[in-house]
Symmetry: C2
Subunit: 260 residues, 2 copies
């Protein structure tokens, strides 16, 4: 049972292999992050890709080459052990989803820790906006769209979005609340008709799990930190390590600190 | 006379050498940018320095290596000619302040265009907050502080701030208005006693010009895009080109687009 744990205590459970599941709702009030780890040879292009696509890839911390430990958002957290589950891509092919990547670590690895929309879910609920994935205890549904990201060096691709169904009358409030948190994806990128952004079946997400859309609700789409994984598939670096979608690092940084 | 010119028309005057002065108040409503140009060998460290110090160095556009023309914030603007005045640093020493750097351009140059606090001055005035440097038609006063920036690679240094005196009762409004624009430095970094951030004489700015502080006003300090120039002095790259403080690029991007 993870309720009431501090972020540090939760990370110790993850490090010990005692929590390998997704992290929605874990340690309420504290920010969670998405992960991309790349060899230094790809780091400049990726840092530029993030700069050019800040809504999808808001960087909260970038480590020095070879450094596994974080300093700013979760001092002492270990990039190689404290995410519950990873994805390992070799030459752009997903080759595994381990719970620890210590054995793969290299001295030239740079890790990028990216803000996550889980951070604004508590603000939505405080504002009276329902968050269906939390209500239904599911991983948030995520979709690959046709919205182009600005390319940078070897990285290019389309945006991945997370979707939350919102009653139509609460959508303006959902926009204004999330706009206050640009470092965790900010305002929605699209509201309504999924086909306009290239989503053909709203019941079949590309990542995460489907949630119920009730009558009177519209799907609302936010930029998602899984976006880099599409770019990694395209760039085909010899190795890249990401988090497994929904399986985040829980940081010591409060969501409120990331608001404007 | 530059009143009423479009940003593009103003840039054409700058390119032709017809405007070489500072740009406070030029093309109201449109964002202006600070500049750092570095050889590609320094670009990763600088991009990381910006990521780690986003309040002082909010990047609005980074060009590809060798590319002089902007694409996003001012399509077609020329990095080497469209800032009214530049500073050229060789091995960390200021060697000149030309109005055109075409002859210095190299194929390995990367240019970083940085948000400027001029962008929120109109928002302050619309909110009834006086902006003394505009009232007195002076370049904003800027100071080197003792506030440390997070280092990255060869870059380190303290923060440069711009100062505006604000009547004490309007300071909360000044904070809330500027907090809405995190891409152009956002909320103040300090309010009141200058000595707390290492400023010994508020009447003698390190850059720009002094402005009057009236009874009942407090000095309010915002992170400033001149901050990288301190880091360049420390890192001593073989060559670096910046804007001359206060002499900005006027972009086609409206200040309102940079608000949350």
């Amino acid at each position: 049972m993870d309720a009431g744990l501090s972020p540090r205590a939760f990370r110790e459970r993850v490090r010990a292999g005692l929590h390998t599941g997704q992290t929605s709702g874990v340690c309420p009030g504290f920010a969670q992050t998405n992960l991309v780890v790349l060899p230094m040879a790809y780091a400049y292009d990726f840092l530029l890709y993030a700069q050019r696509n800040p809504a999808a890839i808001p960087l909260l911390e970038v480590t020095d080459a070879g450094e596994r430990l974080l300093r700013v958002i979760a001092p002492g957290a270990d990039t190689a052990t404290d995410y519950p589950r990873y994805r390992v891509y070799r030459d752009g092919v997903l080759t595994g989803e381990p719970t620890d990547v210590t054995g793969l670590w290299r001295d030239d690895f740079v890790s990028f820790h990216i803000g996550c929309s889980f951070s604004f879910e508590s603000a939505l609920m405080e504002a009276g906006v329902p968050v269906r994935n939390i209500e239904e205890n599911r991983n948030v549904p995520m979709f690959v769209t046709n919205i182009p990201c600005a390319p940078a060096g070897v990285f290019s691709g389309t945006m991945v979005v997370s979707m939350r169904p919102i009653p139509y009358a609460l959508i303006p409030r959902a926009v204004s609340v999330t706009a206050q948190s640009p470092r965790v994806h900010g305002a929605p990128v699209h509201i309504g008709d999924p086909s306009l952004i290239g989503i053909n079946d709203i019941t079949r997400p590309d990542f995460g799990e489907p949630v119920t859309i009730r009558p009177g609700e519209q799907p609302v789409f936010w930029p998602c930190g899984v976006t880099p994984q599409v770019a990694v598939l395209n760039a085909k670096p010899d190795i890249a390590i990401t988090h497994s979608p929904g399986h985040m690092l829980v940081t010591d940084t409060r969501n409120a600190e990331l608001r404007v």
